[in-house]
């Protein structure tokens, strides 16, 4: 009989805390206190996720960078033990084509090279006048309309959606359809059926669009990708997966950064004044980096699996064990950022945040996100210096249940 070891294993499994964890009531901008407690002594610990598996969660800045840059750490979601976000992601593994999201180098390199072209620093800088216009126009419309207004609907969501639609060549008039499917696909708890339905709907939409772009190419990124289908370099489903990824990542993330930053800045009027009263692009760019660090909108944890034993942070991650890289916590690592919970738009090393991830999978659209945020933060408070919340902070609905944090709606008013 071996009751004792079994009992011990059960007991210790029960002590492993569940992930995701809630943020503290009244502290919408800080990481979950239970996670901080769990990783107070070591930069990684075990957590239990939806399928009862107990992957590692990594919160240290240095340890995250080390693991995310380590070729022994894989994003191959087909490997047994991979810590999927939710049941829906796990169920759809065999239906998702290979892409930048689930392949390692060198396979990853081929996909990535196809997607990076529109997002170079210079190309994105050249979009600045366009971004200024799609920032100014919705602000004009909002100011001409009734008060209070929902800033998410009026500005935060349309701005990045218009930009990524134009860049990819996706008809903006379809935005209700793809925004809704994208939003449902990134909830914390998604059933297998719903995941198949939302992924299927988006995928079908993108397949049709890629086929149309192949037949009638235009001057947009999706036409460039479709040309590679025509030449036989990639399949239609791979092209559609790239389009889906760029479309979702291109609007949902920036929209959350805009809405959440407005809340945070209105709660920190001294910091808001720094941003409002400057016309120095370097100050605005620095403010964007600090808000990327401080807000940590990607808070569900990036998912990886160890292909070999890896010694890190005083622990050994065994081959086949899941790894959750909780990017937001690294941005609050006091070893790198002194007084990490303070929003300081003049912080010198803010740029060293992990908000866009690290390693070969770091955000492909990050330069576009930066310019969008520089333009919108630099414009909004100068255009509307009296902007304020129309409801108290504790009435604002935060996206606790989404992989990307933000606000569902943001009632604002002005004089």
């Amino acid at each position: 009989m071996s009751d004792a070891p079994t009992g011990a294993a059960t007991r210790s499994a029960a002590e492993v805390p569940e992930w995701p964890m809630p943020r503290a009531e009244g502290c919408p901008f800080d990481p979950p206190p239970a996670l901080r407690e769990l990783t107070a002594e070591k930069p990684l610990a075990r957590v239990r996720i939806w399928d009862a598996s107990t992957p590692w969660i990594v919160t240290g800045h240095a340890e995250q960078r080390s693991l995310l840059g380590d070729p022994r750490v894989s994003v191959d979601e087909r490997l047994p033990g991979f810590p999927h976000w939710h049941e829906g992601m796990a169920a759809a593994v065999d239906y998702r084509p290979r892409s930048v999201f689930n392949s390692d180098a060198p396979e990853h390199t081929g996909f990535r090279r196809i997607m990076t072209r529109p997002f170079t620093f210079k190309r994105v800088e050249a979009l600045r006048p366009t971004i200024q216009k799609i920032t100014d126009d919705p602000i004009d419309t909002m100011l001409a309309g009734p008060k209070p207004a929902d800033l998410v609907e009026a500005l935060a969501l349309p701005l990045p959606t218009l930009m990524i639609s134009e860049l990819l060549g996706v008809p903006y008039e379809d935005h209700d359809f793809f925004q809704e499917n994208a939003a449902r696909g990134i909830a914390h708890n998604v059933s297998a059926e719903e995941s198949m339905r939302t992924f299927g709907a988006l995928n079908e939409y993108l397949v049709r669009l890629v086929e149309r772009k192949a037949a009638e190419p235009a001057d947009d990124a999706l036409s460039d990708i479709a040309a590679l289908v025509t030449s036989g370099d990639i399949s239609v489903s791979e092209a559609a997966m790239m389009g889906t990824g760029l479309l979702i990542a291109g609007h949902e993330t920036s929209a959350n950064m805009i809405g959440l930053a407005v809340v945070a800045l209105l709660e920190h009027p001294g910091q808001l004044a720094l941003l409002r009263d400057t016309d120095d692009p370097k100050v605005v760019a620095g403010a964007v980096e600090e808000l990327l660090r401080y807000l940590g909108i990607i808070h569900g944890g990036q998912r990886r699996i160890a292909k070999e034993d890896i010694e890190i942070g005083g622990e050994v991650i065994r081959a086949g064990e899941g790894i959750i890289v909780e990017l937001f916590s690294a941005n609050r690592d006091a070893h790198v950022f002194p007084d990490p919970d303070v929003l300081d738009l003049r912080r010198e090393n803010a740029r060293h945040h992990n908000a866009f991830g690290f390693g070969i999978h770091q955000c492909v659209g990050q330069q576009l996100a930066r310019v969008e945020l520089q333009v919108v933060y630099g414009t909004l408070f100068r255009r509307i210096p009296t902007l304020r919340l129309a409801e108290p902070l504790d009435r604002i609905q935060f996206k606790h249940d989404r992989l990307a944090y933000g606000v569902y709606s943001l009632p604002v008013t002005w004089k």
Partner: protein, 64 residues
């Protein structure tokens, strides 16, 4: 200062071109790093070091 870059490892995140645009550029067709100078003047040295530090692919190496 002696800078080298590994184009094979580069993932075209654009961090170097954004941090030190006088030292690093990107290939037009896919955004892969292009080194403009391997020995930048002293006033660009800090930016170049910062660019190496933020490169997500660890594709930039700096020797004194």
């Amino acid at each position: 200062m002696k800078i080298t870059v590994e184009q094979d490892k580069c993932v075209a995140a654009g961090q170097c071109a954004a941090t030190a645009p006088d030292v690093f550029d990107q290939r037009d067709e896919d955004g892969v790093v292009v080194l403009l100078t391997d020995d930048p003047p002293a006033e660009l040295a800090d930016d170049a070091r910062d660019a190496a530090a933020v490169c997500p692919a660890l594709a930039i190496h700096i020797a004194q």
